[in-house]
């Protein structure tokens, strides 16, 4: 039987959840025996080359590209997992949700204390660039999400246990140490 195929991506996240995945340490050798990676920053495959079994999503959606990638994942993965606070709730990027988008753009490109070189007052509007959404959306508001792994980031053991459970079909181990946050 061929190995289950896993894809991962980071949308509006900080790559912290991917770092946490790498925190499984030497078990990564076990992991590559268990699964095959497809589209993912881990192996740097940029586009889906086959149907996948499991998609791990880090980050919510703050721009149009995030939405396209997420929908692409939904299309190509049997099971989609929101990994971490940003994917589940929007997380830190969603702090902007109470602020009008115009104000956010102004702060980032014109008025912010760290803006010094934009003398021509250019606002990014090239057609190639993703378009900013009015607010940051959690993944489950865009596509159906099957599972949620909480944490900022979720502990390596939590991600590991979830992957093992999905791959083996066994019940997931959820000891207190793995889901406590302080």
């Amino acid at each position: 039987m061929s190995k289950p195929v896993v894809a991962t991506t980071s949308l509006a996240g900080c790559f912290g959840c991917h770092m946490s995945l790498l925190d499984i340490d030497e078990r990564i050798l076990e992991l590559i025996e268990l699964v095959e990676f497809n589209k993912s920053p881990i192996d740097d495959i940029k586009t889906f080359t086959k149907q996948c079994d499991i998609g791990l999503i880090e980050g919510g959606c703050c721009n149009s590209e995030n939405v396209h990638v997420l929908k692409d994942f939904r299309k190509n993965c049997k099971i989609l997992v929101s990994v971490g606070e940003c994917a589940i709730m929007g997380g830190l990027p969603a702090l902007r949700n109470g602020i009008p988008i115009e104000e956010c753009i102004r702060e980032a490109y014109l008025d912010g204390p760290t803006v010094s070189l934009n003398e021509e007052q250019i606002l990014p509007n090239d057609d190639e660039l993703p378009m900013l959404l009015d607010k940051v959306y959690p993944c489950h508001e865009i596509v159906k999400i099957d599972y949620y792994l909480p944490g900022c980031p979720p502990r390596a053991d939590l991600i590991w246990n979830a992957l093992i459970a999905l791959v083996t079909g066994d019940e997931m181990k959820l000891p207190y140490e793995v889901v406590k946050f302080d």
Partner: protein, 600 residues
């Protein structure tokens, strides 16, 4: 300003436990609690400014910005909306030229929404500078606004007074008591003020408690805890001082019976308090009166003074050596959760009205950490009649588990809304006939925290063992959109009133609302209905107080009893539907950076 604030604080002996009263007086004086006042309070009471702020930010009627010389708080509860409050709100906005939630530039008028003000049988209603105006019409609004502009006194704009004691010169309010059963079998029986107390002091304190225990009197606030047992627990707690508190913070939307008991028969309730005070050996009683009933305060104070003059209150009551008991009135400032007894005690101590962890229960450690009995207005009023007529007489009325009568506040789509004293055991059908309600879709029993039931359950009876209620009964007619007009309003109500202490109550209420809106907007799935239900069920076990535990009830009980209404909102067989709309989501940012959206 500093002098005025200092004087106010001085009136309360620089006691930080009286912070509520201090803030209420400052709010009344300045129409807000300005930063300068906060600083003065903090300095004089030797507490941090943050502590002052955390109390004041908790209550609806405390503001840090001025609310206008004329402050209008228009009720936005379900029944108010049924009776046309939205047209009244529009009329106010048109006449005054500002939207609700704001004050005119000249500071003359402020328009604000508020949760139920206890006038459901005479909606639409508003409080203007604390004075209730009921049965509002568009022409009345025009008259009021003309009055504001002419600088008239709010009291002078009341016009014709309401029925019963509302016309008394100490109240002079247009509120109607609408006592629909003037000859009820317990509370409404005529009696001589003081006669029950005379009887009580002639028997021992233990004997009074025993009478209550054998009468099976249960708390009328909703939970139904046996009153005699509560008194006994308090008496046996062995504290230094015991306190007796009467809970007149009826904030459950749809309840107004305490308002009527307070207006029409306050002596009976106060006498019940004194008897309870005697039984539990308390020196001090407190009537915690909801802010919305401020207009009754002067009248109630006068009744208390009269009782003091008649030796029914104060030192050596009825010349009984060592029986000293007095009552003070503690005003609330607009917080539904303060109806919960431990939150109410926190509020009485000048703090945020956040429920305490239990145990210890208030009877063990309540007001100032001393044993405290908190009873409802109706419970304490009933005490008087039990003492006068005997426990057996009382027990013979009502049902086996629910002795006596219940005062119901009935409102909504019926001919005769108002207050009814009925025997426990009356069926919902009988009740509907009594109030002249035909073509009924649903009855909201016990307010939003209770249950919404349909005609298949109208043969159920009002009693603790069947349909328990604190008294609110809202009749919802066949033409109403139950989910949009009733359930949605209740969900929002709980979001506003949650104290925020327990995470599920703070967050899940909002998550449930979003899911509910998703259904209303036509994006829902069958799974959403199931999730609303299963997530809502979680509230019961995951929150500290009754508010959080029941906050999902509007959704839960309507899914149980009116599931087809939910299913009719589902337009698809799909398992997942997204409300996300890319065109809309990128519109604003593209416009701002001068770019043509390309969403494909």
């Amino acid at each position: 300003m500093k002098d005025k604030v200092q004087n106010i604080i001085g009136e309360y002996q620089n006691d930080k436990n009286r912070l509520m009263d201090i803030l209420i007086d400052i709010q009344a004086e300045f129409k807000c609690i300005p930063a300068e006042a906060i600083e003065t309070i903090a300095g004089q009471l030797i507490m941090s400014k943050a502590d002052v702020r955390q109390t004041l930010s908790f209550y609806h009627f405390f503001t840090t910005e001025p609310t206008g010389k004329y402050t209008v708080y228009l009720n936005d509860s379900v029944v108010a909306e049924m009776m046309g409050r939205n047209e009244i709100a529009k009329a106010f906005e048109n006449e005054i030229g500002v939207k609700f939630g704001s004050v005119t530039d000249d500071g003359l008028v402020g328009l604000f929404n508020t949760a139920d003000i206890g006038m459901n049988d005479q909606e639409p209603a508003a409080l203007i500078n604390g004075v209730p105006f009921t049965n509002l019409t568009i022409s009345k609004v025009k008259e009021l606004v003309a009055g504001f502009k002419a600088g008239r006194e709010v009291k002078d704009m009341v016009g014709k007074c309401g029925d019963g004691m509302n016309a008394d010169e100490r109240i002079m309010s247009m509120v109607n008591s609408n006592c629909q059963r003037k000859h009820g079998s317990i509370l409404c029986l005529e009696y001589e003020v003081g006669s029950a107390l005379k009887r009580a002091v002639n028997i021992t304190r233990e004997a009074v408690i025993e009478t209550m225990r054998s009468s099976n009197l249960r708390g009328r606030g909703g939970a139904g805890f046996p009153a005699g047992l509560k008194w006994e627990f308090c008496r046996k707690s062995g504290g230094d001082i015991n306190y007796l508190v009467c809970n007149a913070d009826e904030g459950e939307p749809g309840t107004f019976k305490d308002r009527v008991l307070l207006t029409e028969m306050p002596e009976q309730m106060f006498e019940g308090m004194v008897i309870a005070g005697y039984a539990i050996d308390a020196d001090e009683g407190v009537l915690y009166l909801r802010a919305e009933y401020y207009y009754l305060k002067a009248y109630l104070e006068d009744v208390l003074q009269k009782m003091r003059n008649d030796n029914l209150l104060g030192d050596k009551i009825l010349d009984v050596e060592g029986f000293n008991f007095d009552i003070r009135i503690q005003m609330g400032a607009g917080a539904y959760v303060c109806g919960e007894e431990s939150a109410l005690i926190e509020s009485m101590e000048g703090k945020r009205g956040e429920p305490r962890n239990r145990p210890p229960f208030p009877v063990q450690s309540g007001y100032h950490n001393e044993p405290t009995v908190v009873n409802n207005v109706e419970t304490l009023s009933t005490v008087v009649k039990i003492i006068l007529h005997s426990a057996d007489w009382f027990k013979a009325i009502g049902t086996r588990e629910s002795a006596g009568t219940k005062v119901l506040s009935i409102s909504g789509d019926c001919k005769n809304p108002g207050v009814y004293e009925v025997e426990y055991g009356i069926s919902v059908n009988e009740m509907l006939e009594m109030v002249g309600a035909t073509s009924v879709q649903a009855v909201q029993v016990a307010g939003p925290s209770g249950a919404c039931i349909g005609p298949d359950k109208f043969n159920q009876t009002i009693a603790f063992e069947d349909l328990a209620t604190g008294g609110a009964m809202i009749v919802i007619g066949k033409d109403r959109d139950l989910l949009k007009e009733v359930v949605l309003n209740y969900i929002s109500f709980f979001i506003d009133e949650s104290c925020g202490s327990c995470a599920p109550c703070r967050s899940l209420t909002l998550i449930l609302k979003n899911k509910f809106l998703k259904l209303l907007n036509g994006y829902g799935t069958m799974k959403d209905i199931d999730e609303l239900y299963s997530w809502g069920k979680y509230m019961k076990q995951a929150n500290r107080c009754g508010l959080g535990q029941t906050a999902a009830n509007p959704i839960l009980t309507t899914i149980e009893n009116f599931r087809p209404l939910y299913e009719a909102l589902v337009k698809t067989d799909d398992e997942f539907v997204s409300e996300f709309n890319m065109d809309k989501a990128v519109e604003a940012s593209c416009k701002y950076v001068d770019r043509i959206p390309n969403v494909h």
